[in-house]
């Protein structure tokens, strides 16, 4: 029997070897993948034991902090947002049960102080508790407060303000807002409210027809590609037959022999419709993509919480080789949808002499000892247009504000460049079924000669025009930012 006993022992050794094999697989080889699983609450629970870093506005206003709860082994940290709904977007929230969102999610590793593998092993050996880093954002808390307050007066919508030269996001307000402190208590109410959709960041996820503000892109493409010059005259009748349907100007007004300046100042639809047709699909789409359309914005927010702008067909983005109504696309209709962030980027690119910077909310990371360990280095996303084109376009946009549709955006003593937009959205369910519902826009920058801030304002479901409801918000927010320095 001894031979069998030895073999049996051999078999037991093999069995135990299998156990070690599986244990190694779970604990080492597959460990990283397991930590990523949604069902695995451990990483979140462990992070809860780390004092998560604070989030600050550029003026030092406390946006988010962690407060300890419980003692000993059950001691954990809970997130608090002292300003309530003011920074709900774009900062988001961080709670164990409901996960992280927006800025909190994107910057999670800095906020929990995840260092390199080596330094965390070292900390473990030294018994040092992991501590989170603070992050300073570029958000101007006063301008943000003003933007949100004015939005709440005007209607659902968003305001995005970007510093053209750096891409620093100074305002990102979305109405309806939500108070992140309430997330643990009323998550289901917040997430199922389909009228207000308070958890939706309208600045980055709200897809709206940009209307006439898109004419800035069309004009940029026309000038930069050489299809037109500022002197090129186009006959723009009050009505133009396009693809079997008449395209009309406001009040059916004729503009014969109009140049870009006149066309932009008066937002002449038939002028830009013809320009779009001259440019063709390839050129117009190429310039759209240079301005950031057809791609997720390169902002520091989670990929699933930002939407690309472009021509949508049943949730799919159309490309240059898809059939589109160029004349209507050129004036921001067709099936074109854009986020307020995207349109702010258009304004910022023109303002920054043709260079589009990557939009970023964070400004710097400060470790628990007060040392700045990382700062945002502005980087160029693309150079959609040349400097000359940008100057020509700026001049036309200045006229929009001084004598055109955008006079409400004028700031005394400061030159302002901008463009209004009013897209008709009848039957928009979110508006509650009204007939005279518009998506009102204003995009622009100031001061026009040395741009300090580029802003997009977008209001849903309003009976008013962009120049009446969005331009004043632009003016007030821009003034607040310019005066705040």
């Amino acid at each position: 029997m001894n031979r069998q006993i030895v073999k049996l022992f051999g078999f037991i050794v093999v069995l135990f070897g299998v156990l070690i094999g599986f244990t190694s697989y779970w604990s080492v080889f597959d460990a990283e993948a397991l930590k990523e699983k949604d069902a695995n609450k451990r990483p979140l629970l462990e992070q809860q034991q780390i004092p998560r870093g604070r989030i600050l506005a550029s003026d030092g206003t406390l946006i988010a902090k962690s407060v300890p709860k419980g003692r000993g082994a059950s001691r954990r940290y809970v997130r608090r947002y002292p300003e309530g709904s003011l920074f709900g977007h774009p900062i988001g929230y961080s709670f164990v049960k409901y996960g992280d969102s927006e800025f909190e999610e994107y910057h999670n590793s800095e906020l929990v102080g995840e260092g390199s593998e080596f330094s965390s092993i070292l900390d473990e050996l030294l018994g040092e508790r992991q501590e989170g880093n603070d992050i300073v954002t570029s958000i101007d808390s006063e301008a943000q407060r003003l933007a949100l307050a004015e939005l709440e007066e005007a209607g659902f919508g968003a305001v995005v303000a970007i510093e053209p030269s750096t891409g620093a996001v100074e305002v990102m307000a979305s109405n309806a807002p939500y108070d992140p402190n309430r997330v643990p208590y009323e998550y289901s109410k917040l997430s199922t409210n389909e009228i207000e959709t308070p958890l939706l960041n309208r600045a980055t996820q709200g897809l709206y027809p940009p209307g006439s503000t898109f004419k800035v892109v069309t004009a940029a493409a026309g000038l930069d590609s050489g299809a037109i010059t500022p002197e090129t005259a186009i006959d723009a009748p009050g009505t133009l037959e396009v693809e079997g349907t008449p395209l009309q100007n406001d009040f059916n007004q004729d503009f014969f022999g109009a140049t870009l300046d006149t066309a932009l100042t008066n937002s002449v639809n038939t002028w830009f419709g013809q320009l779009g047709q001259r440019l063709g699909n390839d050129t117009l789409f190429e310039y759209m993509e240079r301005f950031g359309f057809n791609a997720k914005p390169a902002i520091d927010l989670p990929e699933d919480q930002v939407e690309p702008s472009g021509v949508y067909e049943e949730g799919r983005l159309l490309r240059a080789d898809d059939p589109v109504d160029l004349a209507r696309l050129a004036i921001g209709q067709e099936r074109l949808l854009a986020t307020p962030l995207q349109m702010a980027q258009v304004a910022a690119a023109v303002a920054n002499r043709g260079k589009l910077m990557k939009p970023q909310i964070w400004k710097g990371v400060i470790d628990p000892d007060g040392r700045t360990v990382d700062t945002m280095n502005p980087s160029v996303y693309s150079e959609p247009i040349g400097e000359e084109t940008a100057e020509e376009l700026t001049a036309a946009m200045e006229d929009v504000v001084t004598e055109g549709t955008g006079t409400n955006a004028a700031i005394p003593g400061v030159s302002v460049a901008g463009k209004t937009g009013t897209a008709e959205t009848p039957g928009n369910k979110a508006c509650g079924g009204g007939v005279e519902e518009n998506q009102a826009w204003f995009i622009g920058f100031a001061p026009a000669d040395d741009p300090r801030i580029a802003i997009a304002v977008s209001i849903e479901c309003t009976p008013e025009f962009g120049g009446d409801v969005a331009a004043p918000i632009f003016r007030d927010v821009a003034e607040a930012i310019l005066n705040g320095e």
């Binding site: 029997m1 001894n2 031979r3 069998q4 006993i5 030895v6 073999k7 049996l8 022992f9 037991i12 050794v13 069995l15 135990f16 299998v18 156990l19 070690i20 599986f22 244990t23 190694s24 779970w26 604990s27 080492v28 597959d30 460990a31 397991l34 930590k35 699983k37 949604d38 069902a39 695995n40 609450k41 451990r42 629970l45 462990e46 809860q48 034991q49 709860k69 419980g70 000993g72 082994a73 059950s74 001691r75 954990r76 473990e124």
Partner: protein
């Protein structure tokens, strides 16, 4: 002959150090200052081990010197882990450890001539099976997670399967000792497969039947698997016929497959094993969190007292049944893959010593009994560790000597006593008739 006991004594020192260090580790975590209570616990444990050692020195001077220190290592480690989970549970466990040692001593005292067990083998077998049925009796039976595993008699609750495993092994060892010759000689080859003679195979079919019965009525997949595997191990050692093992395995698979598709509880266990992510918040919660705990541990673990067992701020379990079923996952979590390898290695060393005892034993019953007891011990460890690492479906057997549970601790100390009894005689017989020089050669 005393050298064996001296080696045992020496081997106990690292055990006590380990225990003291372990308690010190947990203490420093929880109290942030190191009291001398950990030293006191270590000292108690060492004193109890020393008393046992002295008892062995007197009663079984030639018994295997490494078995008791190895078993004490696991017990000490288990105590530290349980202490880390819940102080009161650890106190219970310590009491059961003492009770286990008392039964250990009594077994050694009364079963010095353990052949007496052979005479009562049918009584023992029937008693064992009746015990197994007890959890289904109204009034005293208890259902745990859908399986009928426990019995509650007044204030005393226990899991009969832990004792049944010893009874069944005693029966099988005795039965196979008597019938192994005929099982080998009477075997016939049918269609190229060696089949055992039907007449002698009857009682063995009963074992298969009992295993299937456990699946259906006790709904205890783990114990069923453990018994049947131990049975196949014994059958293989007794007959040397691997084909018997293959047939047995096929029969078990067939039965298990049949019942897995008909008995909901068994079916669920298999489903959860195969598709844990289908219902991660409910049925798949335990096995998934068992694996997540291991992933959290990594190579070196997060350290004693550092792993999360409950969701902070609540009483909700993050690692369900951490003190029993999933204690191995907690070990991986806290002391890492290296620590877990150490634990598995200790089980393997115990198996090695057990099989060594079987090799040295001269008579068939002793050999088979040692093989059976060692196998059932090792397989139990495999079934539960395999369960929490998703090698096999997760079932509710205990991790021998480490898991919280009085029945398990006490039964395993009885098992150890029997192994030491066999060992003492085998080594003495190896030494005495042939003289010391021959014995040294045999031992080497």
């Amino acid at each position: 002959m005393t050298s064996a006991r001296n080696r045992e004594l020496l081997a106990l020192v690292p055990v006590a150090v380990l225990l003291t260090a372990g308690f010190a580790g947990v203490f420093s975590q929880e109290n942030e200052q190191l009291g001398n209570l950990s030293l006191v616990y270590g000292a108690y444990f060492l004193a109890i081990c020393l008393a046992t050692h002295v008892y062995l020195r007197i009663r079984l001077p030639d018994a295997d010197p490494y078995l008791f220190p190895l078993v004490a290592t696991l017990t000490a480690f288990g105590l530290v882990m349980i202490y880390r989970i819940d102080e009161t549970l650890a106190r219970d466990q310590a009491n059961w450890f003492v009770l286990g040692l008392i039964l250990f001593a009594l077994t050694i005292h009364f079963l010095r001539d353990y052949e007496v067990l052979e005479r009562y083998r049918y009584t023992i077998a029937v008693a064992g099976l009746l015990l197994l049925l007890a959890p289904r009796l109204p009034g005293i039976g208890q259902q745990v997670n859908g399986a009928y595993l426990g019995v509650k008699l007044g204030p005393v609750a226990f899991q009969p399967a832990e004792f049944t495993k010893i009874a069944i092994i005693v029966f099988l060892a005795s039965y196979l000792r008597e019938h192994r010759e005929v099982l080998i000689v009477g075997a016939r080859r049918v269609l190229g497969v060696t089949l055992p003679p039907l007449k002698h195979f009857g009682p063995l079919l009963v074992v298969w039947g009992a295993s299937m019965f456990m699946l259906v009525f006790i709904r205890d997949l783990g114990s069923s698997l453990m018994f049947f595997a131990a049975f196949l191990a014994l059958l293989y050692v007794a007959t040397g016929r691997f084909s018997f093992v293959v047939i047995g395995m096929a029969m078990f698979m067939l039965g298990a497959w049949f019942f897995a598709s008909t008995v909901p509880h068994v079916h669920d266990r298999v489903e959860i094993w195969l598709h844990p992510y289908n219902d991660p918040q409910d049925s798949g919660y335990q096995i998934l969190n068992s694996i997540f705990a291991q992933a959290d541990g990594g190579l070196f673990g997060v350290g004693f007292g550092q792993a999360l067992i409950t969701i902070p701020g609540t009483n909700d379990a993050l690692l369900p049944a951490a003190q029993t079923d999933t204690i191995y996952s907690l070990i991986v979590n806290e002391v890492g893959l290296f620590g877990a390898c150490g634990v598995v290695l200790v089980y393997l060393l115990i198996a090695a010593r057990g099989f060594k005892i079987a090799l040295l034993a001269s008579d068939g019953f002793s050999k088979l009994l040692a093989v059976g007891l060692t196998s059932v011990f090792a397989i139990q460890a495999f079934v539960i560790i395999g369960g929490v690492t998703r090698v096999i479906p997760l079932t509710g057997v205990t991790l021998p000597l480490i898991s919280y549970g009085g029945s398990s601790i006490v039964a395993n100390f009885v098992l150890l006593a029997l192994l030491l009894l066999i060992s003492d005689r085998a080594r003495r017989e190896a030494i005495e008739p042939a003289g010391r020089t021959a014995a040294l050669g045999a031992a080497a």
